[in-house]
Amino acid sequence: MARRGFPRAAALVAILFLVLAGVGAPARAQVEVRMWTLLSGGDGARMRALVDDFNASQHDMRVVSTTLKWGEPFYTKLITASVVGAGPDVATIHLSRIVNLAGGGVLRPISPGELATAGLRGDDYLPRQWAKAQYEGRTYAVPLDVHPLVLYYNKTLAGKAGLLDADGKLKAIEGVDALTDAFRAATERTGRRGLTMESSQSSYAIWRLWLSMLAQQNVTIIRDGRFTYGPAGAATLARIGDWFTKGYAQSGLDYPASTSQFMGGNAAFMLNGVWEVPELVRATKAGTLGFDYGIVPLPRLYANASTWADSHGFALPANPGHEPSPEKVRAVLRFVAYVSKHSLGWAEGGHIPAYRPVAESERARSLMPNAMYAQAANDVVYDPDGWYMGAAGPLEAIASKFLPAALYGYLTPAQAVHRFETEAARLVRKRPPRY
């Protein structure tokens, strides 16, 4: 019985196998797009969700994303891998690094024709961000967002300090003296700190604020390899340093300590990027925050309302010797177009979307708390152009060593600025590297 049954069973298994194999194999080979990102934490989770949604939305291609350590390690790896032809198919970068990456031969320009095949047009992006993605007349990245520096406030503490209007919103603050007074009032009347911001060694926050405050005085930092801020450099750093030496802010806090000081209700104001928004939204929803918060753009402290910002964007590594096929480029841009069109999800990370149909949509305009600071996008300044500039770039790295020291009193503001300049001198005199 069993013996007679055997050939038939074998045939059945063979047929089953063939059927399964036939179902399993796709009609066409799936294009795999490898992406490197430097997005971690909430940003990383949101990008992963966008990638998963995209992969689920179609079957022709698949995006495989790898997250690498933010900052200098990411860029070093991207640069070295991409110039030897071993880079990914697409990478998320900061637009402040375009001069460095495009000028150094790390990225491949994207032609208007290629953009058009994915339904992308420059006009669809915020003009300032689109311009920032260009280098020598060619497009090197597709902008994703704008993330400016903003001022968060704790309504309970600010209320006690008499800084709120009848609607419970922060009264307008104009001028650096007014801001200092607000920090002082909050410190004196609440027994908590007036301000919290990241200030430990090698933190980048001071650089962002310093750059904003100089830009508000119409002072540039660097031009043609020369430092151009003059006496305003040390004077501005001294204004920031005052908040720390007078005790309105606690010096030496690293990033997590500074945000938890605000989240824990121990500081009335927090100067930070919009990327902390998701944590506040989450804590509010979970009922663990313990206070109402508000967000305003960085106040106008001097002549104008300039605010430091940076943007994420998608770029194609050059990979010489392994240039992407037209098919691969089409696939990458198709993914980029998908993310642009679905960037409302990205906006929930606090970022302002760079894709205008989304950014100007009713849903994005009414998205809270983003709506509180959406106007900041009109006043943003990026790091000045230069191969050494940009997020976690060589010049920022040097500034982040010396500027914070002025806030602890180990160096005077003038010494800090002088030592920053001395160490950066060799860098800015150097010819831009071709990687």
Binding site: G104, P394, A397, K401, A405, R419, R426, P433, R434, Y435
Partner: protein, 301 residues
């Protein structure tokens, strides 16, 4: 502190019999090939690189001695060399002295020898990532055990005066076990008869140490000091992980400066010049130290 410091070059002097030459070369060949491929050729290439303007992957121009000229007038380089020397000063002598003390303790307390030896040597087996993690926890301003014991809220690693000493103390705790082993081996090679004879002559305590232990240990001491000096001059991992060279470069050592110029600033040519200049300094120092040891020995004889 790398463990390969312990690998000493084989003795390449010709032996008395001529027939031995071929086997000697055959035995040496694998080492020579590896040495040439992985050390000598890269070193030559580094020297060539130091004469060029180069990014990480591409050479753009031959610039002759320009990089060295810049180096002479680069305060950042000299600061980093100064920090390296300061770190060596903070570590070499304590590491050797403590190592010797521990070895003598282990040698003396025969009952607890294994336990003591294991305890002293244990930190040395930790990978650098674990060692720095432990040191970082211990040195935390508000929650660290060091401040708990000493009182106060010192931010050890953020203080320009305390950061490098703190890294040095962590390094001593981490690597002293190796020196202890060296000295222990030295101590066990001293014939017991010498002590017995000295004891018969009425010597005891410190006199025994001064007249027998110390002179007999002299070669081990000089080996330990030179190995330690080279290891301390090569410091990179501890400061890179614990302080990233901060606060404002007070813990940035020479190798860290080389790393920064090469990788953060993509200036491989200049980084190569930093490396070559630093190698020259290390060689000079080692020669100087060997000469001092020789001179001291000659004076005693």
């Amino acid at each position: 502190m790398q463990r390969d410091d312990t690998i000493l070059a084989p003795d390449t002097r010709p032996t008395t019999a001529r027939d031995d030459t071929l086997p000697a070369w055959l035995l040496l060949a694998p080492f020579l090939v590896a040495f040439g491929l992985f050390f000598f050729l890269p070193a030559l290439e580094t020297f060539w690189l130091s004469l060029t303007e180069s990014s990480l992957t591409r050479t753009s121009a031959f610039v002759g001695l320009d990089n060295y000229h810049t180096l002479l007038h680069d305060p950042s380089f000299w600061d980093s060399v100064g920090n390296t020397f300061y770190f060596s000063l903070l570590t070499v002598i304590p590491l050797c002295a403590l190592g010797l003390l521990m070895a003598m303790l282990v040698d003396r307390f025969t009952g607890a020898r294994g336990w003591l030896q294991g305890t002293f040597f244990l930190p040395f087996v930790l990978p650098i990532s674990v060692m720095t993690l432990i040191a970082d926890w211990m040195l935390q301003p508000s929650s660290g055990v060091v401040n708990h014991i000493l009182g106060g809220q010192r931010a050890w690693l953020a203080d320009p005066y305390l950061a490098l000493p703190a890294v040095a103390i962590g390094t001593i705790w981490w690597t002293v076990g190796f020196n202890m082993l060296l000295f222990l081996a030295g101590l066990r090679n001293i014939p017991a008869e010498l002590y017995e004879a000295a004891a018969l002559d009425g010597a005891r305590g410190f006199t025994l140490f001064r007249t027998i232990t110390w002179p007999a240990l002299r070669p081990v001491v000089s080996t330990a000091v030179i190995l330690q000096l080279i290891a301390s001059l090569k410091v990179f991992g501890q400061t890179y992980i614990l302080t990233s060279g901060g606060p404002f470069n007070t813990t940035r050592v020479a190798l860290h400066y080389m790393y920064e110029t090469a990788f953060t600033q993509s200036d491989a040519g200049y980084a190569a010049a930093v490396a070559m200049a630093f190698v020259a300094i290390v060689i000079l120092l080692s020669l100087l130290q060997a000469w001092i040891v020789k001179w001291l020995a000659g004076r005693d004889a």
